[in-house]
C-alpha cells in the first residue's frame, strides 16, 4: 500500500547537521578563525562586503566561514542580516579626493600631482605558484617610499581634466535625496545613482563579462583609465541634533574613473565623458568593469544607439544581482510536481492526437506497401 512521503522536518534537520560537519572538514586540521579569514583572505572579504552592500570585515569573514567559502552564499548571509539593521540616516558623500592612497595609478598621464603609487598589486607579479608559501613564514618587509614633496595631495585626474573643460562636469547637486535600491523598487528607466548601486552590488563575474563585451565591440565606449585609486577615506555623518558632521570611522575603497571619448552633440561640444566605479576594499577588476558598464548604460543620455546588452539598463539591472540569479536558477530544485503533472497530461493528449492523425494518414500508405 502506498504511503505518502513524510518526514520533511527530520530530513531537513539531519541535512543541516551534515552540512555543519562538511563545513568543519577534517577535525584533525585546526579550525579557521574569523580573524584569519579577515586578514588573509582580504580580497574575498572585500568582495563579500561589496556585493553584500555592508562594510563590516568581521561579519563578511564570518559569513565566508559559515558559507564554506561560497561567495554568493556569504553575500546572501550578509544581505539577509543587513535587512534587519535599523537605519538612522545617510553618511555624507565620501571625499575620495582626500583619500589616503595606498595605490594610485593613471593610464592617461605619465605623471601628475601626487604621482603614481604602485602599492600592493598583483600587477607585474609572475603568476608562478610559490611553493615556499605552502610552508608559511613571514614575508620580507617592503621598503618605505621617500615621500614626494606633494605626497598627500592627490587631486583626482578627472578633476584636473575637468578644470580644463575637457571632461564633462558632474551635474550640480540638486538636493534631491538619492534613491536606495534596497528600500524602493526600481522604476525603469532608473537614474544613474540607482544604476551605480546595482552595479556595485552586482555579481563581479557578470559585471566583468559585460564590461569586457563593450571592449569587444558590443557597445564600444573607447575607454581610458583616467585613474584608479585605493585607500582609506573618512566617513562622516551629520546627526540631526548636532547639525555638524562627526567622523564615524574610515573605510577602504577602490575608485575607478574611466575617461571616454565623446564627439559631442548639437548642444554639447566634443569632450570626454566618464564612467565610474566604486567598491569596498580593493578590487580594481570590479571597479573597472563597473566603470565600463556605467558608461555604456549612459547611451540613452548621450544620444548613442542602444544595440548591445551592456547598454540596455533593463537587461543589466534585472540580471546583475547574484542573489536574484542564484535564487531563481536554484529554485528549479523545488518540487514542481503539480505543473509537471499538468504538462504530462497535455503531452499525453497531444501524442494521442498526433498518433490518431498519423494513423489516418499512414494507414493507406502502409496498405499499399504491403
Amino acid at each position: 500500500m502506498y504511503v505518502a512521503v513524510k518526514g520533511g522536518e527530520a530530513a531537513i534537520d539531519n541535512a543541516h547537521r551534515l552540512l555543519a560537519q562538511a563545513r568543519r572538514g577534517d577535525p584533525a586540521v585546526p579550525e579557521l578563525d574569523v580573524a584569519q579569514i579577515r586578514e588573509q583572505m582580504g580580497l574575498l572579504v572585500d568582495r563579500v562586503m561589496t556585493e553584500g552592500s555592508l562594510y563590516d570585515p568581521d561579519l563578511a569573514a564570518l559569513a565566508l566561514k559559515q558559507a564554506r567559502g561560497d561567495v554568493v552564499e556569504a553575500v546572501f548571509l550578509v544581505r539577509a542580516y543587513r535587512t534587519t539593521l535599523p537605519r538612522f540616516g545617510a553618511a555624507l558623500p565620501v571625499e575620495t579626493g582626500a583619500m589616503a592612497v595606498a595605490r594610485r595609478i593613471s593610464a592617461t598621464f605619465k605623471d601628475m600631482p601626487g604621482g603614481q603609487v604602485l602599492g600592493p598589486t598583483f600587477d607585474y607579479t609572475h603568476r608562478l605558484i610559490d611553493f615556499a608559501l605552502a610552508a608559511g613564514g613571514d614575508p620580507e618587509p617592503a621598503a618605505e617610499a621617500e615621500p614626494d614633496s606633494d605626497a598627500g595631495q592627490c587631486p583626482r585626474v578627472t578633476d584636473i581634466l575637468g578644470a580644463a573643460g575637457l571632461l564633462e562636469t558632474s551635474p550640480p547637486e540638486d538636493g534631491a535625496p538619492v534613491g536606495d535600491l534596497t528600500r524602493e523598487p526600481v522604476d525603469y528607466p532608473a537614474d544613474r545613482a540607482l544604476r551605480l548601486q546595482a552595479l556595485a552590488r552586482g555579481d563581479e563575474g557578470f559585471v566583468l563579462a559585460l564590461g569586457y563585451s563593450t571592449q569587444r565591440g558590443y557597445g564600444r565606449t573607447h575607454p581610458f583609465v583616467g585613474e584608479i585609486r585605493f585607500g582609506k577615506v573618512g566617513i562622516e555623518f551629520v546627526p540631526e541634533e548636532l547639525g555638524f558632521p562627526v567622523p564615524l570611522g574610515a573605510a577602504a575603497l577602490t575608485e575607478c574613473q574611466m575617461v571616454n571619448q565623446f564627439h559631442g552633440s548639437g548642444a554639447v561640444p566634443p569632450q570626454f565623458t566618464r564612467g565610474y566605479g566604486l567598491v569596498f576594499g580593493q578590487s580594481e577588476r570590479k571597479a573597472m568593469a563597473m566603470a565600463l558598464v556605467d558608461r555604456s548604460l549612459r547611451a540613452a543620455e548621450l544620444g548613442e544607439a542602444i544595440v548591445s546588452p551592456a547598454q540596455d539598463q533593463e537587461f543589466v539591472l534585472a540580471h546583475c544581482d547574484s542573489l536574484q540569479a542564484t535564487g531563481f536558477v536554484e529554485h528549479l530544485k523545488l518540487p514542481h510536481y503539480v505543473d509537471f503533472q499538468a504538462e504530462l497530461e497535455l503531452v499525453r493528449r497531444l501524442r494521442a492526437e498526433h498518433a490518431a492523425l498519423h494513423e489516418k494518414v499512414e494507414t493507406p500508405i502502409r496498405e499499399a506497401a504491403e
Partner: protein, 290 residues
C-alpha cells in the same frame, strides 16, 4: 500574547521584518486590494531564504500575520514538502504563531502552486508565492512596455498567444499559470497553479494576496471578485479532468499527483492536496467504525 513574548528566538522582530517594513508592505497590499489585479511595486527586502523560494509570499505573510493567527503552509498542495516545512518553521520560530495543516482551521494559508481543495471561507487569507508576476513577460520582456500595455489595457498580445496554441494544437495548450482577467480590467498571472485551480479564484470569499519578492511586486484579488480565465468564444476555457479518482480517498474532481511505483510502468494517482485527502480518509474510517 504580546509580540515580544512570541519570540523564542533572539534578536529579531515578530515575524522577522521590522515594523516599518511591514507597514510599507501593508500599504502596498492595501493598494493592491484597491486596484484588483494591478501589480503594485514594493521594496522587497532580502530575506533569509533565496529569491524564487517564496520570499514574496513570506514577506506578505510576515506583514499581515498577527499573534493570534493560525498559519498553514503548502507547496504543491502538500504540507510536508520540504519548502513548506521550512517556511512554516520560519514563522514558528520568528513569530511563534500557531500552525496547522487543516485548511479549515487556518486564518492565513501560504501556498506555492496550488489552491486548497477545501473551499475557502470569509476571513481567510490565501498568500501565493509568485515567481514571475507579469503575465505578458514572455510575450514582451520589457518592463517599460508591459507597464504601458497594462495601463492602456492592451491585451491583444495575450490572445495572440492563445490563438497560436489553437492554431498549432487544436486547443489552448497552456496548462498552468493560465492568465486571468480580474474584475474586468487587469490581466493577471495566477502564479504557476495548474489551470485546474483557476475557477476557485472566481468569486472566492477569501482574500487572495500575491507576493513576488525577486520581481518586487504585490497584487491582490479581494473577496468576491470576478476572475475570468482568458479564452475564445468558440474555444472556451476548460480545466483538466482526471480519468480516475484518488487511489487513497476516492475523491473525484480534485487535482491528482502521479506517483511512480516501480520501473515497470506502475503508477498511481493520489490527491495533491494532502490535507483534503487525510480529512476524507479520516471521515471514511470514522464512518466505517461508527
Amino acid at each position: 500574547m504580546s509580540p515580544a513574548a512570541a519570540l523564542p528566538q533572539t534578536g529579531y522582530n515578530f515575524a522577522y521584518l521590522d515594523e516599518g517594513t511591514k507597514r510599507m508592505i501593508r500599504r502596498a497590499i492595501l493598494k493592491a486590494v484597491a486596484v484588483p489585479g494591478y501589480q503594485v511595486p514594493f521594496a522587497a527586502r532580502e530575506m533569509p531564504m533565496p529569491y524564487g523560494w517564496g520570499t514574496g509570499g513570506v514577506q506578505v505573510t510576515a506583514a499581515i500575520l498577527g499573534a493570534s493567527d493560525v498559519l498553514k503552509v503548502i507547496d504543491q498542495g502538500a504540507d510536508d514538502t520540504t519548502n513548506a516545512v521550512s517556511i512554516r518553521r520560519f514563522f514558528g520560530r520568528t513569530a511563534g504563531v500557531a500552525t496547522t495543516t487543516r485548511t479549515a482551521e487556518a486564518t492565513v494559508i501560504q501556498t506555492r502552486h496550488r489552491i486548497p481543495e477545501t473551499p475557502l471561507t470569509e476571513g481567510q487569507i490565501l498568500v501565493y508565492q509568485v515567481p514571475i508576476p507579469e503575465p505578458l513577460r514572455f510575450l514582451e520582456p520589457r518592463e517599460t512596455e508591459t507597464r504601458q500595455l497594462h495601463a492602456l489595457a492592451e491585451y491583444g498580445l495575450m490572445h495572440v498567444k492563445l490563438y497560436e496554441d489553437i492554431a498549432r494544437h487544436g486547443h489552448i495548450a497552456t496548462t498552468y499559470a493560465y492568465p486571468v482577467e480580474v474584475a474586468g480590467r487587469y490581466v493577471m498571472d495566477p502564479s504557476p497553479t495548474p489551470k485546474f485551480d483557476n475557477p476557485k479564484m472566481d468569486d472566492c470569499p477569501a482574500l487572495q494576496l500575491f507576493g513576488a519578492g525577486r520581481e518586487k511586486r504585490i497584487y491582490a484579488v479581494p473577496p468576491h471578485t470576478r476572475v475570468r480565465s482568458l479564452d475564445f468564444e468558440d474555444h472556451p476555457f476548460r480545466v483538466q479532468r482526471f480519468e480516475r479518482p484518488c487511489a487513497l480517498c476516492g475523491a473525484e474532481d480534485v487535482y491528482l499527483d502521479e506517483v511512480v511505483l516501480d520501473d515497470a510502468g506502475g503508477r498511481m494517482f493520489v490527491c495533491s492536496d494532502t490535507d483534503h485527502c487525510e480529512t476524507r480518509r479520516d471521515a471514511i474510517a470514522h464512518g466505517e467504525s461508527a
